[in-house]
Subunit: 238 residues, 2 copies
DNA sequence: TAGGTATCCTACTCACGGGTAAAGAGACGG
DNA sequence: CCGTCTCTTTACCCGTGAGTAGGATACCTA
């Protein structure tokens, strides 16, 4: 119960080498370093969770000390917020990309969802999806909620448009949006252990499932197992 | 940034009155009190998250002091674990209920998913879904992972059976299971603010979406918006 | 070379919260 | 009436981790 947030001090994994000690060039590109801080934080949050990651951990990853991190960022909270925004921005870009395209709304929706899935599987995915408003100050919490809500309503709108243009089966737009976003958000939970697929592949597979559904399409009807007992049906009805 | 885990000390909400001060009977029903501790913990975790909930908070809710809580539970970690198990048990029960029923696998799957959704929307939903293995000791982490995996594989099995008996459209069982479970798990994130629907209603709506998918069923074909530009399609392909 | 500025460090403060020691307060059997 | 067992309290310990003060170092400009 003691040492769980352990990390082999400076594990040699040369992920994206820290811009400090790494390059002797010492370019004063403040922005580059700042981004390195944020990316590193995102990776650590992703690995151990927000609360199990100390700023000392992040600093250690960068081969720097804590005050240095504070030189680029004002608080841990803000760090999480920046990671969140970085993730969300990818999705907002996806929306901008598809608006106005002259294809059925379902195609536009699918395109957005593909980007959405990739974003969730990205480095900032965890932060974007799991940034708990409970962990943030009221102000930032509001901000995050608003960004999330924007995306949610964007999805709902595409669903409604799809129902109108006939490319989407009539349904409850709100519930459907929750289901789609939820399935994609959850990728952040399991995409970590098993990296055998790329984010794009996962997103593609999910979109296919969303579009088709479980029920078999009319095709070579395979009339093998048809309901035989009414009693069983009744018991399923609960 | 300071007082966020605030709680009006003893807000008069007589939810499920604490078995202490409440009853003068003073029954030595240790078990009853123990369960009250766990339920209260679940509610608090659900409201503020695991890390933002102190044992003092939980004790205060019960109108008791911290050592009393420790009298019924050995650690905060165990508290989370108990909440988790309480949630998962509902789902395991659902599996037991449907195994062997003489209906197509898709019907059995839908029944399980309905129970699943209700469980996630229940009091223990949050704990079940969000119990981070990072927050727990290696031993408990393993235990939780195993329980989760059991459920996951149960869903995959039902999907495979459905594909075999023709009640489910052929698909990647693993990915599909992830998508379904993810959508349902995510309910725990948003079902809190908006309680206008019951857990059962949500689960029902989700199952309908899963089964049908977005693509319109062959019916009164509404050939309104058909793809007109190939350029647009290409740009969507990314 | 002097003064200024940007960057990073050592060495702290301090509150919070998990967990414990040990002492009451009843209840009950004998 | 006393010892004992169960339950709950008051009063503490102490590690952790966010955040800071203030001093070095290096680099740039005049």
């Amino acid at each position: 119960m003691a040492s769980r947030r352990s990390t082999p001090p400076a594990a040699g994994r040369p992920a994206p080498a820290s811009p400090w000690r790494a390059s002797r060039e010492r370019l004063r590109d403040r922005e580059v370093k700042r981004e390195a801080v944020i990316r590193t934080a995102a990776r650590e949050f992703n690995r151990k969770g927000y609360h199990n990651t100390s700023l000392d951990d992040i600093a250690a990853r960068l081969e720097v000390t804590k005050p240095t991190v504070y030189y680029y960022v004002t608080s841990k909270e803000q760090l999480l917020f920046e990671c969140f925004v970085a993730g969300v921005e990818q999705i907002r870009a996806a929306f901008r990309e598809v608006t106005g395209l002259p294809v059925p709304a379902r195609a536009r929706l699918s395109a957005v969802l593909r980007h959405y899935g990739e974003a969730v599987a990205s480095e900032f995915g965890w932060c974007m999806v799991r940034a708990e408003d409970q962990d943030l100050s009221p102000a930032m919490s509001r901000h995050i909620k608003q960004l999330k809500s924007e995306i949610d309503h964007g999805i709902r709108r595409l669903i409604r448009e799809g129902i109108q243009d006939g490319s989407i089966e009539p349904c409850d737009a709100k519930m459907t949006a929750f289901a789609l976003a939820g399935a994609l958000n959850w990728i952040a939970h399991w995409y970590r252990e098993d990296q055998s697929l790329t984010g794009a592949q996962i997103a593609e597979a999910f979109v296919a499932i969303f579009e088709g559904g479980l029920r078999p399409r009319r095709g070579p009807a395979r009339p093998s197992a048809r309901p035989r007992l009414r009693r069983a049906r009744a018991s399923l009805a609960r």
